[in-house]
């Protein structure tokens, strides 16, 4: 049976992880390659690297990092942040990334999703959607959630599926950073509307939140950052708890 996935997310700036991590047994907690290896050993099912470098130099460093991760890590990983062209994707896949994630660039030019899925296959095209619930309506936001749009989350999700996205990474801005649980109602509705896998993001604070995202939210995967980085939730323990709750995971 296909299992539910647990995905740690690493924010990368100029080739280093930011926001800090708290693993005692790492020589260099800022080195994304070491962290990636650590997570792979702990039972993470996939990894997501989000490049938040603002400079060209930072972008170039990112390619070196992707190459090193591909060289040393034996589980799949996705790279996102600042990707806006076929060339960007070609370069990242050539460095060994398994999937790429696009967000603002897809909203600005939705044809990009068609072009990428035709050229590289749907399986490597993840569309990330940041949305915020305003007056009961889930509205898509851009540029790390700073710019609101007129797009409705569910309409946009349907459109990205039709254009060839292989997966949706949905971050609820209402939940992100709260550690109060994922946006399960929106997740459920997304799963009803589209027929591609949904990664839940934003709000993880406890094991129960992951159970809810899978059971109530019907998510296919759940992504989190700080609860993993700071050792608040141990991935192996989390997966054991999920299995004890009859949720299929890889152990």
């Amino acid at each position: 049976m296909l299992t539910k996935r647990i995905i740690p997310c690493l924010d990368i700036k100029n080739g280093r992880t930011v926001k800090g991590v708290n693993f005692v047994d790492l020589r260099d907690a800022g080195d994304p390659v070491e962290l990636a290896k650590q997570y792979a050993n702990l039972g993470a099912d996939e990894l997501v690297f989000l490049d938040i470098s603002a400079t060209l130099e930072g972008r170039k460093t990112m390619y070196d990092m992707v190459l090193k991760v591909a060289e040393q890590v034996n589980i799949p990983f996705t790279v996102g942040g600042g990707i806006s062209s076929i060339e960007d994707v070609d370069d990242l896949l050539h460095c060994g990334a398994d999937k790429i994630s696009i967000n603002s660039s897809a909203v600005k030019r939705p044809e990009l999703i068609n072009e990428l899925s035709q050229k590289f296959g749907s399986q490597c095209v993840v569309v990330a959607i940041d949305a915020k619930q305003i007056d009961g309506k889930w509205m898509v936001h851009l540029a790390g959630g700073t710019i609101p749009t007129d797009l409705n989350l569910f309409d946009w999700a349907k459109e990205v599926e039709q254009r060839g996205a292989g997966e949706i990474l949905f971050t609820s801005m209402n939940n992100d950073g709260t550690k109060a649980g994922f946006a399960n109602d929106a997740l459920t509705k997304l799963s009803e509307i589209v027929n591609i896998p949904i990664i839940a993001s934003g709000g993880a604070g406890s094991t129960q939140h992951f159970i809810d995202a899978f059971e109530r939210g019907n998510a296919d995967a759940a992504l989190a950052a700080s609860v993993f980085h700071f050792g608040e939730i141990d991935i192996l323990d989390l997966k054991k708890d999920l299995r004890n709750n009859n949720i299929e995971v890889r152990l």
């Binding site: 099912d45 034996n74 292989g166």
Partner: protein, 193 residues
């Protein structure tokens, strides 16, 4: 031991090359028939769409070369699918190495299947040291049906063939290069066939 990864422009071959590097083997990338024929082991990868991958294969004349190879050959993901009789994807005629058709999952399940699933009914030395119900990483919308040449099966919507063998030709639907230590073991087994 010389390992050649067939480089015909389809797919993420870097990961496969790195997976062999972790096993201490420098796998070469090539589309040169002479180099491919001379290798001890041949990896036939593929990611993307079937009909365009087959077109690229034909352009380099490799559609003739691959079915005639005598050494162990391992098709991965779309590589495995192209080794079958044909695929519903782009109505593509395959290399006919495996006597089976490739079909699309229905919309009863999420398509693509993406993530870790188990392999069972393991029937080949390719799986030495790999236990029944081991997890492998899969990403695919099309599958090979259960058939006589199945050497592993997986359940998604129904039971399908997640690995195939016909003489020296092997094919796996999953990605051993991305399937943690179990995948590495499979690649090691392939080198030891």
């Amino acid at each position: 031991m010389s390992v050649v990864i067939v480089d015909y422009g389809a797919g993420n071959i870097k990961s496969i090359q790195f997976a062999f590097k972790r096993l201490g083997i420098e796998a070469k990338l090539s589309n040169d028939p002479t180099i491919i024929k001379a290798a001890n082991r041949v990896i036939f990868p593929g990611v993307g769409e079937a009909s365009s991958a087959m077109k690229m294969l034909k352009q380099s004349g490799l559609d003739d070369i691959i079915p005639k190879l005598k050494q162990p050959v391992l098709g991965i993901c779309l590589g495995m699918q192209l080794m079958c009789n044909g695929s519903e994807e782009g109505d593509t005629k395959g290399l006919g190495i495996f006597n089976v058709e490739v079909k699309r999952f229905s919309n009863q399940v999420k398509v693509p299947q993406m993530g870790w699933n188990t392999i069972t009914n393991l029937k080949s030395e390719l799986f030495n040291g790999i236990k029944e119900n081991e997890f492998m990483y899969l990403v695919h919308s099309y599958y090979a049906e259960q058939c006589e040449e199945s050497i592993a099966t997986t359940d998604y919507e129904f039971t399908y063939a997640s690995a195939l063998q016909n003489e020296n030709f092997y094919g796996v639907q999953f990605h051993p290069e991305k399937s943690s230590t179990a995948g590495e073991r499979l690649l090691k087994n392939f080198l030891e066939l």
